[in-house]
Assembly symmetry: C2
Homo-oligomer: 344 residues x 2
């Protein structure tokens, strides 16, 4: 018998409301029958949606939440308005109380992080949180963290990011010793990157059973897939993520323009449409939906605000994997591995 | 009679040696007959190359430099080995001495910046240098700065970047009041972005005759072309630039794979090859070659190390435009505009 994995869902978060959250859960359940759900949100809206999926209804509870956090609310506002009452807070709190194994929201990222920090608190030996993103690369996928939780990392935090990221990569990629690189800029002697150099030295000096440190990487190494885990401070990581998204959209737009520019190119497009579909599938952001909050004493997944049911299902599956393969224990294991292996 | 623009070329910089520098100069001259050149480098190698282009030879001097800065030398090493003797130093010094209007090198960026700072020094009222890159967007082109000269900007430096970038944008885009955005991450309340918020307030409070401040932009706004000038601190800017380059290469690789995946897609490719050529032209990095060093008391252009003759010619033309349209005066003009317009 397989142990069930219980997901607490913020049914009210995201741009498309409860419909996609419920449909996403139904899709995820079809893939992972050991999932069960609690939906937090406006019961009058959520209950009929869940009832429409009998299979899902059989493994789901609905818990009424009177407040929904707005997508544009500031974190402090969201806390004032929705602490203990919002669907977002209550989903996180279910993890805190041991009633769920992971919480998922497609809502306001800042509010979700603020609530998760207050409600769940940090895990032992980790000071500050991070958000890890799965990034499609030429070699498959990599993790990039932090993509925006914590601004201005010192060397110790960068090392923590390497530890947390490699633990998550073991789960996502199913490898025992993921390669890790520190994101840096080309010139070695630039002032202001002392923290990155110190972190690099610390990572190199220790022996890590579950982390294969490969040194510095640059921005263009992310897409190449040079390492499994790219570690960077949250501001630069967020800029990198958004810039890559922007570049991908830009090139798609160029390609569309080019393919509709003449009759010949339109015919060519028709002939090659299978290839274009494959290309689109490769660039489909839904496949890599699901930012994982790291460093908290509990599993919290951020689904993209604009996700549809397929993207939501993918984010739920990420949560499932993190629970199933014990993300939190793996992080602690890597931390412990360092303590015994560091010389001196 | 048009005033000549004199360019000092580091003939030894870049991955491909003097050949592409000389051919690039010949191409640029064909476009801009008022250009003249001094080539700094190994005379025995450079002289025959220049002689092969009679038109070019007519407007060129060759000045022997016994040392060439290595592409992998650290800036401090390059200064030790090549101060006053290297082709790179001597090209910059020609600007300092008033013998040239702009210097161009495709060599080691860190060394070039270090030498330029020491030799030319900073311009009045600007404390730290920046590198501005021309970035292709869906709307045309934008400037992004700083892409790696200075790490860890405070609010005053971010304002300086806005001033310098908008002055350069007036020249490159031929508009009197370029729009400017400050690169930021989504969440308003994140700790650590106080400097960016302060810079935003300063930019908003002043009235700028030559700068139209539009507030924060995010990473995905760069490719959209939301503003003419994107201002960011050098570390994040460099990461953004390299990440976008990596993403573009990654998608090109996906596209090549897709187009050769079946006979149908190959036929489609053949039919649409004009469209693919147009797409490639749009993504051609040579078109936007030429990073401009800003803040120095002289015009210095960095050509990409891997540039061919066409890329080199484009970088020379950027230098030409900066001289012709008086970049340094335009920066001072914008600075002065602020002083008189700031309330209080």
């Amino acid at each position: 018998m397989i142990a069930p994995v219980r997901i607490a869902l913020d049914a009210m978060g995201g741009d498309h409301g409860p419909e996609v959250i419920v449909s996403g859960a139904a899709l995820a359940l079809a893939q992972r029958p050991e999932l069960s759900f609690t939906f937090f949100g406006d019961e009058a809206k959520v209950a009929p949606l869940v009832s429409a999926h009998p299979q899902l209804a059989g493994v789901s509870k609905i818990s009424h939440a009177p407040v929904a956090v707005g997508m544009d609310e500031k974190p402090s506002q969201a806390l004032r308005n929705g602490r203990r009452t919002s669907s977002m807070w209550l989903a996180i709190e279910a993890v805190k109380k041991g009633q769920a194994d992971a919480a998922l929201s497609a809502g306001n990222t800042g509010a979700l992080m603020a609530m998760a920090k207050i409600c769940l608190q940090m895990m032992p030996y980790i000071d500050r949180p991070a958000i890890a993103a799965i990034w499609p690369t030429l070699r498959g996928e990599s993790l990039v963290l932090d993509v925006g939780a914590t601004i201005g990392a010192d060397a110790a935090h960068l090392v923590d990011l390497a530890i947390m990221g490699s633990a998550m990569a073991r789960i996502v990629f199913g490898i025992e010793r993921p390669t890790v690189g520190l994101l840096n800029i080309g010139t070695e002697e630039v002032k202001g990157i002392e923290e990155i150099k110190t972190a690099s030295r610390k990572l190199r000096e220790a022996v890590w059973p579950n982390l294969d440190y490969r040194g510095f990487v640059e921005g263009n190494d992310i897409g190449k897939g040079t390492v499994d885990v790219v570690v960077t401070e949250g501001f630069a990581g967020n800029i990198a993520l958004k810039t890559a998204e922007g570049t991908a959209k830009q090139i798609s737009a160029y390609l569309r323009q080019a393919m509709s520019s003449s009759l010949r190119s339109k015919l060519g497009y028709l002939l090659a449409r299978g290839a274009f579909a494959a290309l689109e599938a490769k660039m489909d952001p839904r496949k890599v939906n699901g930012g994982v909050f790291l460093g908290l004493d509990g599993v919290v997944i951020k689904s993209h605000g604009g996700s549809d049911a397929i993207g939501t299902a993918r984010a739920i599956e990420i949560g499932y994997e993190m629970v199933k393969d014990e993300l939190l224990s793996k992080i602690q294991e890597t931390l412990a591995g360092r303590a015994s292996a560091t010389p001196g």
